[in-house]
C-alpha cells in the first residue's frame, strides 16, 4: 500500500496517467478545495476592488476589512428557507444548479497547474475542456425553463443563444493556437522551422510545446497569436456571462435573469459555478497563450541564478500580502471596540507571513513554482473581469450577436487561415 502511494512520487507523471487512484483522489480534493477557496477569495476581492473603483469601501463590518464577509454570506445562504415556486418543475429546478456546478468543476480534471500537477492529462484535453464547459448552458436553460416565469425564460434564451454563438469564435481561436503547436522552429516567426505536422490537443503538451519553441503562443506569428488571444479573451467573458456581456442576468432588465426564482443554497451554487467557470476559461487562456505554468522569460533569463530569483516570488508574494495586512493593523482605529478586529487582522497577516516563509524552503519552493505562476496568470484575468465590470455598460442582445458573428468569427477564421498559411510557408 505504502509502495503504491510512494511509487507515484517518483513517476514524473500526472496521477491520472500513472493510474494511481490514491493520488487522483488527493489531487481532486486539493483542486476542489483550492478552487472553492479561490472562489471565496474572488468573491471578497471583487466586492472590495469594485468598491474601490466606485469610491466606496465595500464590506467593512464582518471581520477586519470585511474579510469574513464571504463566510457570513455562506452561512446566510445555507440557513435560508429553500423556496421552490409552486408552478416550477421541481426536478428540473432542483437539478439545474447541480449541472452548472458539475460542468464548471469537471473542467479542472485536465487543467495543468504544472507539468505533473494535473489530475490527469487527456490527449484531447482542450476538446474535453471546451465540451464540458459548454455543458453549463444546459443548466442555464433548464433553470430558466423550470422556473416557469417570464424573466428567467427570457434570460435563459438569451444565455443559450449567447453561449452557443460565442463558442464558435472561441473554438476558431483555440484551433489557431493548436495549429501553432505543430509548427516547430524557434522564436516568434518560427524561423528555421522543421514542421513535423503533428500537433497536440493535450493541455500539458501544449505548454511543453511553448517551452520547446521558446515562445508564448501569444507572441508567435505576431500579431496572429495576439489577435487569436484577444478573440478568446472577449469570447470567454461572453461565455461566462460576465459584464459587459452579462445579458442573461442583466439586473436592470431581467431582475436576475435565469436565476430570478432561485434563492439560498441553490442560488449560491449558481454563483459558485459562475466563478469556477471564470477561473476555468481563464486557465484555458493561460494554457494556450500565456505559457501555462512557465515562469516569465525561461530562456532569456535562464541559468541557476535566475531560477533562484524567480523561485523566491511565491514566498515574496505572501510576505507582501502579510505586509499589507500589517499595514492594515497599524491603521486600525485605536478604539477598544476594534480590539478583536485588529487582533484578527494581525493573526491573518501572521498566517500569510508564515505561509510565505514556508514557501522559501527549497523543497516546497521547487514543488510550488509552476502552480504559483499559473495562479498568478489566472489572477490577472480575474482582475480584468472585475475591471470590465466596473467600466463598461452592457451590450444589447442584438449587438452582442453582431459582435459575435460579424466581428469575432470572421477575424477568428482569418487568423486561422493565416496561421495555417504561415505554417506551410515557413
Amino acid at each position: 500500500m505504502l509502495d503504491y502511494i510512494q511509487g507515484y512520487l517518483s513517476s514524473n507523471l500526472t496521477p491520472g496517467q500513472a493510474g494511481n487512484v490514491f493520488w487522483v483522489t488527493v489531487y481532486i480534493l486539493i483542486v476542489f478545495g483550492g478552487i472553492s477557496v479561490a472562489v471565496i477569495a474572488m468573491n471578497w476581492l471583487e466586492r472590495k476592488a469594485l468598491a474601490h473603483f466606485q469610491v466606496r469601501l465595500g464590506p467593512m463590518r464582518v471581520g477586519p476589512h470585511g474579510l469574513l464577509q464571504p463566510i457570513a454570506d455562506a452561512i446566510k445562504l445555507l440557513t435560508k428557507e429553500d423556496i421552490i415556486p409552486s408552478g416550477a418543475d421541481t426536478f428540473v429546478f432542483w437539478i439545474a444548479p447541480l449541472i452548472i456546478l458539475c460542468a464548471a468543476f469537471t473542467v479542472y480534471i485536465v487543467v495543468p497547474f504544472g507539468p505533473t500537477h494535473a489530475i490527469t492529462d487527456l490527449n484531447i484535453g482542450i476538446l474535453f475542456m471546451l465540451g464540458v464547459a459548454s455543458l453549463s448552458v444546459l443548466g442555464i436553460v433548464m433553470a430558466g425553463w423550470a422556473s416557469n416565469s417570464h424573466y428567467p425564460l427570457i434570460g435563459a434564451l438569451r444565455s443559450s443563444a449567447q453561449m452557443v454563438s460565442y463558442e464558435v469564435a472561441m473554438g476558431m481561436a483555440v484551433v489557431s493556437a493548436i495549429l501553432m503547436t505543430s509548427l516547430h522552429g524557434l522564436g516568434m516567426y518560427g524561423v528555421a522551422a522543421k514542421s513535423t505536422g503533428t500537433g497536440t490537443l493535450s493541455m500539458i503538451e501544449i505548454v511543453k510545446m511553448q517551452q520547446e519553441q521558446q515562445v508564448w503562443f501569444l507572441f508567435k506569428f505576431f500579431p496572429l497569436g495576439l489577435i487569436a488571444f484577444a478573440i478568446f479573451a472577449i469570447a470567454m467573458v461572453a461565455e461566462t456571462n460576465r459584464a459587459p456581456f452579462d445579458l442573461p442576468e442583466a439586473e436592470s432588465e431581467l431582475t436576475a435573469g435565469f436565476h430570478t426564482e432561485y434563492s439560498g443554497l441553490r442560488w449560491s451554487l449558481f454563483m459558485l459555478g459562475e466563478y469556477a467557470a471564470m477561473i476555468a476559461v481563464s486557465s484555458i487562456a493561460v494554457t494556450l497563450w500565456l505559457g501555462g505554468w512557465m515562469r516569465p522569460f525561461p530562456h532569456w533569463l535562464a541559468g541557476e541564478t535566475w531560477d533562484l530569483v524567480f523561485s523566491l516570488f511565491p514566498g515574496l508574494t505572501f510576505l507582501g500580502l502579510a505586509a499589507i495586512a500589517f499595514i492594515g493593523v497599524a491603521r486600525m482605529p485605536k478604539h477598544p471596540y476594534f480590539k478583536i478586529q485588529t487582533a484578527g487582522l494581525g493573526g491573518f497577516g501572521a498566517v500569510l507571513g508564515l505561509i510565505g516563509v514556508v514557501l522559501f524552503v527549497p523543497l516546497v519552493r521547487d514543488r510550488i513554482q509552476d502552480i504559483y505562476w499559473f495562479a498568478a496568470k489566472v489572477a490577472v484575468f480575474m482582475y480584468l473581469y472585475i475591471w470590465y465590470r466596473a467600466t463598461w455598460p452592457r451590450y444589447r442582445f442584438d449587438q452582442l450577436m453582431k459582435v459575435g458573428w460579424k466581428v469575432l468569427l470572421p477575424i477568428a477564421i482569418g487568423v486561422l487561415i493565416l496561421t495555417a498559411i504561415l505554417g506551410v510557408v515557413l
Binding site: L50, F53, Q54, V55, R56, H150, Y151, I154, R158, A243, P244, D246, L247, A250, E251, S252, E253, L254, T255, R389, A390, T391, W392, P393, R394, Y395, R396, F397, D398, Q399
Partner: protein, 384 residues
Amino acid sequence: MTDATKYLSHLELGEPDQTFLDSNELIINMGPQHPATHGVLRVILKLDGEKVLGTECVIGYLHRGVEKIAEHRTYTMFNPYVDRMDYVAAVSNGLGYCEAIEKLLNIEAPPRANYIRVILTELNRLASHMLWLGTHALDIGAMTPLFYTFRDREEILKIFEKYCGARLTTHAFRIGGCQYETYEGFERDVQNFLKFVPPKIDEYEELLTTNRIWLERTRGVGLISAKDCIALGVTGPVLRASGVKWDIRKAKPYASYSDFDFEIPTGQNGDTYDRYLVRMREMRQSLRIIEQAVGKIPEGPIMAKVPKVLKPPVGEIYHSIEAPKGELGYFVVSDGSTQPYRVRVRPPSFVNLQALDLMVRGQLVADVIAVIGTLDIVLGEVDR
C-alpha cells in the same frame, strides 16, 4: 395574465402576428417592483421574443392626492407639499409654486431673493441631472457613474443643508421671496463647488461619451421627432434633444433669468444619445448661470411685503418654469378665500412618460429600460 390583459385593450391584442414560425406573444409585467423602473412605475409589455409590440404604463402607486390636499390648505401651508412631488428637484417645485401665487397676488420677489432662487434652482438642476445620469447609466449596465454622481451630488446637498436645514425636500422659498438669508460663507461654498464640479463632469463624460458600448446602446434608441414631441406635449431636455430650441428660462424668463447669459443646448436626432448630450451640456450651462449669479447677488431685502393672511383676488393663473425635467406648470384658481379653489400641476414627468410607448414600439426589451431612464421620470411627480 388576465389582470394584465385588461390594461392592454388598446394594444390590438386580437390575432397574433402570423410569422413564418408561429410565435406566441408574451405579456410581461415590469414593475412596480423592478430594479429599473425608477420607483413604482409599472409597465406592461407585449413582447414577440425580445421585440416590444406595445406597452402600457400603469401609474398611481405613489398617488398621494397632492392636488386635492391643496384645496384644504391655505396658500402658505401648501408650499411644503409641492416639494414632495419631484423629490429630486424640490427647489424647482417650490419656485414654480411660489411664483405662481406671487403672480396671483400681484407681488414681486425682491432682486436679492430672485438671485438666491436662481442659484439654488440651478444647483438643484445639477443635482437632478446627476441623479439622472447615475441611474440612467446603471440601467444601461455601467455601475460606476452612479457612485461618482452621488459623490458629487452630495456637495450640492451639503449647500442646501447649510442654507435651509434640509437636503432633499428643502422648502427653501416662501411666497414673496426667501425665508432665509444666505448663510455666512454661502458664496464661498458655491464658488468652491463651481471649481470642484467641472472636472467631475469631464470624468463622467470620459466614462461614457465616447464609450463604444454606450454609443451602441444609446444611438438611434428611443427616437422621437420634434413633431411627435410637440404633439404629445413633451418638454425639457427630451424636446430639446429633438431639435426644438424651447426653454422657458429664455422664452418666458422668470425669476432673474433674463440677467444671465447662457445657451440652450439642442440635439438633432432625438435619440437617447442626444438626450444624454443635451443634459450633459445643460449641466455646464447651469454652472455658467450660477457663476454669473453668485458674483453679483444684489443687496436688499429677501422678502417682499406680503400680507399675513394671503387672500388672492378671485381669478386664475397659469405659471410655468423650466424644471430639470421639463415644463413644470401650476394652474391655480382662487375664489378669494384663504385656500385655493383648485391647484392643478402640470408635471413634466407625467407628460413625458406618455412618449414611452411611441419611443419603444418595435425596439427591444433592453431599450425600454434605456428609454425609461432617458425620459428622466420621477414617480412622485407622475402620480402626485
